[in-house]
Structure formats: structure tokens, C-alpha cells
Symmetry: C2
């Protein structure tokens, strides 16, 4: 058995930069019904088709008036106007309001031509059709002018903007039933290793392991904008891996491989990747996750992750997630940066490399959930993580650090 | 036109409690392929089918040894063992290791019977089949014992746990290809109002508005665990609304109606809801969003939201989202609480009620995006919000408050 030592030369920021600089966000677009487009990214600028509101609109229940009819009005000098109708939302008054006239108007209904304000119903005395006003009313009072929220032709969405629930509402209000968004990038997910067996009720032969990385990676790809495409696991044979990789590349916008990323005899990625593309780096100065390799082929990035599920997932957090997000036109790494205090002393195990520490963040306190880099149980209680620099040997209890809180890890 | 004043008596916490106490999380379950179950909630406890690792496993590339063969070894007293084979991942050595023997072993491969440690390949001198050891090796070194990460039969998922990417990986490792999760609750979405027109290229008649609430509410329901079921808008006719509500209730686990929630002549919810169920409250001491009504019918909650898109969406953040999440077995309100400083002086407009302030949170700073309760453009730059108590009249520049940051609003 040939054995080699992997001597990584690439730091975490260098690895991230190398990968992100090769990622080209997908250019394919699709037309979606607006209510289903939340979380997707606009592929074009959108301007409002109509002003919002589309007409001068009452924002109270009351009486539409011509304010000049109410000049000098006061409690001691009330003015009576004649009610000539009522306007509910969705209706419109068929003519201009004439001198001495008022109309009852509901919230959301169009203020009739001629009228320039609405008095709230609580402030008048109504006796049949005679409406008595005793408070001053200024032009524009309780009226949202046409286009006051949004003028027609205003740009409401810029190409590249993720569509939030409020933007979905705004697009609808502005008259759009459909919106053009970027297609979700397809991320091929390939696991390699003779030891892998599909999880299921079949007994596990001695020496084999249930294949977990494709499921865990899919679960990270999906909430970060990608469509995971899980491919059948491949055996540790260079020609087989090469063929599978080429097929995966043809069918995806990016490929992530787990297993075979180190330098052992059956670690084939460093042999196969140069045949398929250009290797960007092999080995990252980070623990866990050091034996990581990346390549680029025909404008597509291939990430080779360590086969151990804990290292694979740890790497995916800081390397795969930002890559998938960039491919998807989504910003950042999907986390929010929060300042936290460490709940207890936490030794780091970087041994001169950066350390990725999985964290359980609660309020402004965090505790490491790490209890061994070979333990996937180190990761599942975490709702965030921190990357500590190589020089950092441990975190003291009460020490304040920046952590990355990730809803996609399940932490609310 | 009949006009009334709504005099709300219910505070924000009371309204939330009244709704949440009536929500019964869905009991329906479904069996899903594990890789597609991320974000869903486990409907049963799951225990590991196998120990993880399933066998004593090397976590380095090196040589498996019987440590008693290396007693007293040192640089000056090296020991030579005979290499009798090699074990790659997925293979197993066919017999127990005998005295004086060693086998080459790859990371992830099973340590053969008889052997009790693995020496890293960097620490030996290999000459053909003769392997020279010169460092002390302790029992267990570089070996993950069977079940060291997870003993067989360990509970890995508890009923009610949301499935994170790490748990998806753990379920797979533990031998599960499928997992039973709670069904996603169906949330009926109904808009009411004669003024509503479906968004689209058709010109908007004067006095009408494009219907936006069903799209915006769907966009909030979906990332919080629910399946929005948008129903056709209904006209302001009590019998029509009642029929539509009953149909919506029959087809959903909860119903949200927008429009008609106040006390105007065409605000029909307060008339119709008592026929369909029990009204929980009508009017909440909050701005925006005061004219909100809630009812319960046959164990299902109905929320009636104001028709104005900005008020409707604002209410949905603190009332609908937690309700949908509870229905979905998801905890909390989908936000993370962060301490922020206000970037500038911000007057509040609660006028004696609580105020919901939409916030753009960046790092530890927040600014209000509110510029008028009738403006949906007040909301779309927000990636979080805060609810300020009635007594609070304004926020000073630099003042520190707790804000709720919401990834579902698009803020990373």
C-alpha cells in the first residue's frame, strides 16, 4: 500500500477565494408565478406597472370633502355638507364632488374627483344626509395620493435581488403575476469509496459503512439555493471515478465529491482531477477537513471533501455553502454574524491550522459541541460555527468571539 | 354606510397566547427518503441500527499492530514486524493478527482482530515487508473503537426534533434510508374585498387594486413549515365569505383571511366568524395591524388580517409565523434575537399601542425601514423587526434594543 503525507499550503481564506473566484453564477432563468418565487433571485429589473395606490385613496372610514367648503370651520362655527352617496372599496363615485357636497367613504376606496381630503367619521355629526363638520380639515388629510407609495415605472426589484415576502407582495401590488428568476443551479453530489453501502434495512457487512455524505450535503445545498443531484456512489477505481466525474460535470453546474480527497493509495481525486481539469489546491490548513481538494473544469468547480462525515460536513459549512450560494446568486455564507461569549474553556485542535468549531448559540452565549473530529455527533447540536485562526490555541470561558449563526443548521 | 370604531382590548402578548394556545400541531405523518427530510420534524424517536463506527476503525494511514509486540520499543531499540497484508477501506483482513505481524491499513479500514493500535506511516521505516517501529505505541492509539461515536441502539433523534443537515447525516450513518416526519400543515389563504384583481397584464380598472396579500402570506408560510393553499378571492358578501371560509377550513389545518377584519360596513369577518366558530379577540393594541381578528372552529384557528398589504404582512410576522410554526412542530418565531443599536432617532407611532418596527439589521446596528404604515415599501428592505411596548414613544440614536433577525425575510 502506498502511503503519502499531505502537506497543505492553502489557508482557509485562500481556499475560499480560489473557489469563489471560479464560480460563475448560473445564467439560466425561468418564469415563475410570483407567489412561488420567494427565496429565488430576480433575473431582471422590474418596474411598477401601476402607481401604488393607483388612485387617491382614503385610509380611514369617513367623509370625502372639498376643504374649501370647510374654510373657517370650528366647534363654534360648524359647517353642514350634504351627503350625496357612499363609496366602498372597489367602487368609484361617478362624478366630481360639487360645492356643499360630501360622500361617505370607506378605507381603501378612491377619493372622488373634486374632493381633496377625508374627515374621520368619529369627528362629524351625521343626521340623515346632513353631515356636520366642526374640526378644521387640511388638504390631503387622510388621503394617500396616487403613486404615494410607489410611482408608476419605479424600479421595485433589481436584477440579482433575492425575493423576500415583502418583495413578493410588492411585485403583486405592482401588477405582476409572474417574475423571471435565475434557475436553481444543479449541484452534482458524488460519493466515492469501496466501503460505502446505501443506508437501509439490509445488514451492513463487516468493514462497510452506510453512506451519509450525499444526504448531509444535499441537506446543506437545498436551503442555500441549489438543487442537489445525488449520483450513484463510485468504487475506488480511477477510470470509474473519472467517468463518473465527467458525467456529473455534464449534468451539473458544480460537483462535490466526498471521499478520496487525501493522498492514500485509494485516494484517487488528486490523480483524476488533473485529467478532468485544473487543480486549484490540495490540502487546506484547517481542522477538521484538511484533506480537501478543489479543481475547475470548463468553468465548473469540483470540490473534493474528506470522506469522514464529520470532516465533510464541517468543510461544507465554510466552503461548499458559500460556493453554492454564489452559483445561486445568493449573497454571503447564509449565516448571521453574532458576538457571543464562550460558556466554558474550549481547547482548539488546530495544531497550527485554523479550527472550525461547531457551536450551540443561545442568546449571547455559545458552547462548542465538538468532542472529537471523528464524531459526527460533534456536529448535530450545533446551530452555528466559528473559524478560529491558526495562532489561537484555546478559547477561555467568558471570551467574546464572532460566531456565525446559521438557520440552515436548524438554530432559530 | 354604517361606520363603527374598533376599540381593541387585546395586547400583543395576549393575542399571541390566545392563538398559540388553540393551535394543535398536525398529527399526520409521512415517510420520507432521508436526504429529502431536512427541515422537517421527526414524528418518532429513532435509535441507531448499527454502532458507529460499526467496527474498530483506523483514523490514519499506517500499520495495525499488537502493542504487546512493541513493548520497550524506542529509537535506540527499534522493533521490526513482518507486514502480512494491506487493508483498504471497505475490506477486511481474513484472520487475526499473529505475534510479530503487522498489516498496512488505510484510514477508515477495520483494524484486524488481534491488533489493538495503529502506528502512523510517517513514524515507521518500511523496507519491503519488514516494518521498523521506533516509537512507543499505546493500546487504542489511532483507533476509533466500534460504537465510539454512537453505540447501537442509541437514540439519535427524538420525536419533535427538526432534522438538520447533521441529523440527516447521522440518520444515514445509523442505517436509515427513510424517516417518518410530520406532514406539513396546510394553511388556507383567503383574500376578501370587492376591490381585488389578480395581478397580471390586464389593465387595472379605476378603484381596484392588485391582490398582493395571498402571495406575500404564502411566501411567509412556506419557509416556516406550512403549505400555503391559496383560495380564490371572495367578494364582500357575508354568505359568500362564510361559504368560502367553511370550504377553506375543511381543506386546511388553519386559515388566514386578509381584508374585512375591521368594523366597517363591508368588514364582514366579525359578523361571519361567530357563525363559523368562537371569536378569540377582535382588535389588537398594536400598530400597524390593529384591526385583526382571530377565531377557532373545530380545533382550527382562523386569523383575520387587515387588508392593507403593509399591515397584513407586519401582523403576519409576529402572529401568523409563530402559529404556522407551532402547527408544523417548529419552535419559536423563526427569528434569532440579537442586540442592536439604533442607527438614528426613530419616532414610534404606537399612540398608546405596541409598535412593530421593521428593521434593517447590519452587524450590531439597525435602522427602521418604516416610513408610513400605509406603505408596503416600508417593509421590503427589512431583514428583521422589533416589537416595542406601548409606553415607548421613540428610540434614540445609539439606543440598544433586542431585535429579531429573520432569515425568512431575506437577511443573511
Amino acid at each position: 500500500m502506498e502511503m503519502h503525507r499531505l502537506d497543505p499550503r492553502t489557508s482557509v481564506p485562500e481556499a475560499l477565494r480560489a473557489v469563489l473566484s471560479r464560480i460563475r453564477p448560473v445564467e439560466r432563468t425561468e418564469l415563475l408565478a410570483v407567489p412561488t418565487a420567494a427565496g429565488r433571485v430576480a433575473a431582471e429589473d422590474v418596474t411598477s406597472r401601476v402607481p401604488v395606490p393607483a388612485f387617491p385613496c382614503s385610509h380611514v372610514d369617513g367623509y370625502a370633502v372639498r376643504t374649501r367648503d370647510l374654510k373657517g370651520v370650528s366647534a363654534t362655527r360648524p359647517v353642514n355638507l350634504r351627503m350625496v352617496g357612499a363609496i366602498h372599496a372597489g367602487e368609484c363615485f361617478p362624478r366630481a364632488l360639487a360645492a356643499g357636497e360630501t360622500v361617505a367613504i370607506a378605507t381603501g376606496a378612491p377619493v372622488p374627483h373634486g374632493a381633496d381630503a377625508v374627515e374621520m367619521f368619529e369627528n362629524v355629526d351625521a343626521t340623515g344626509r346632513s353631515i356636520q363638520f366642526s374640526l378644521n380639515v387640511v388638504p390631503g388629510e387622510n388621503v394617500d395620493p396616487a403613486g404615494g407609495d410607489l410611482a408608476s415605472g419605479t424600479r421595485i426589484v433589481t436584477q440579482g435581488t433575492p425575493l423576500t415576502p415583502a418583495l413578493i407582495g410588492l411585485l403583486s401590488l405592482a401588477g405582476y403575476g409572474q417574475v423571471r428568476v435565475y434557475a436553481r443551479p444543479v449541484v452534482g453530489v458524488l460519493s466515492s469509496g469501496n466501503e460505502l453501502r446505501p443506508p437501509g434495512p439490509e445488514p451492513l457487512p463487516y468493514g462497510k459503512v452506510f453512506e451519509a455524505n450525499s444526504a448531509a450535503l444535499s441537506a446543506l445545498i437545498e436551503p442555500n439555493g441549489g438543487v442537489p443531484k445525488v449520483l450513484p456512489p463510485v468504487r475506488d477505481v480511477a477510470s470509474v471515478l473519472e467517468r463518473a466525474l465527467r458525467r456529473a460535470l455534464a449534468a451539473s453546474d458544480m460537483v462535490v465529491v466526498s471521499g478520496g480527497s487525501s493522498v492514500g493509495e485509494r485516494d484517487l481525486l488528486h490523480t483524476v482531477l488533473p485529467r478532468v481539469g485544473t487543480v486549484l489546491f490540495h490540502g487546506v490548513k484547517v481542522r477538521p477537513g484538511m484533506p480537501t481538494i478543489a479543481a475547475e473544469s470548463g468553468g465548473k468547480v469540483i470540490l473534493g471533501m474528506p470522506g469522514h462525515p464529520a470532516s465533510c460536513l464541517s468543510n461544507a459549512l465554510w466552503l461548499l455553502v458559500p460556493a453554492v450560494r454564489k452559483l445561486s446568486h445568493l449573497p454571503g455564507d447564509g449565516t448571521s454574524r453574532v458576538r457571543v461569549r464562550m460558556a466554558r474553556d474550549t481547547p482548539l485542535h488546530g495544531h497550527g491550522f485554523s479550527t472550525v468549531v461547531p457551536l450551540r448559540i443561545q442568546g449571547e452565549t455559545a458552547r462548542s459541541t465538538f468532542h472529537g473530529s471523528h464524531f459526527i455527533t460533534s456536529l448535530h447540536p450545533a446551530n452555528g460555527y466559528a473559524i478560529l485562526p491558526p495562532a489561537k490555541r484555546h478559547l477561555r470561558q467568558g471570551e467574546s468571539i464572532y460566531a456565525r449563526r446559521a438557520l440552515f443548521l436548524g438554530g432559530a
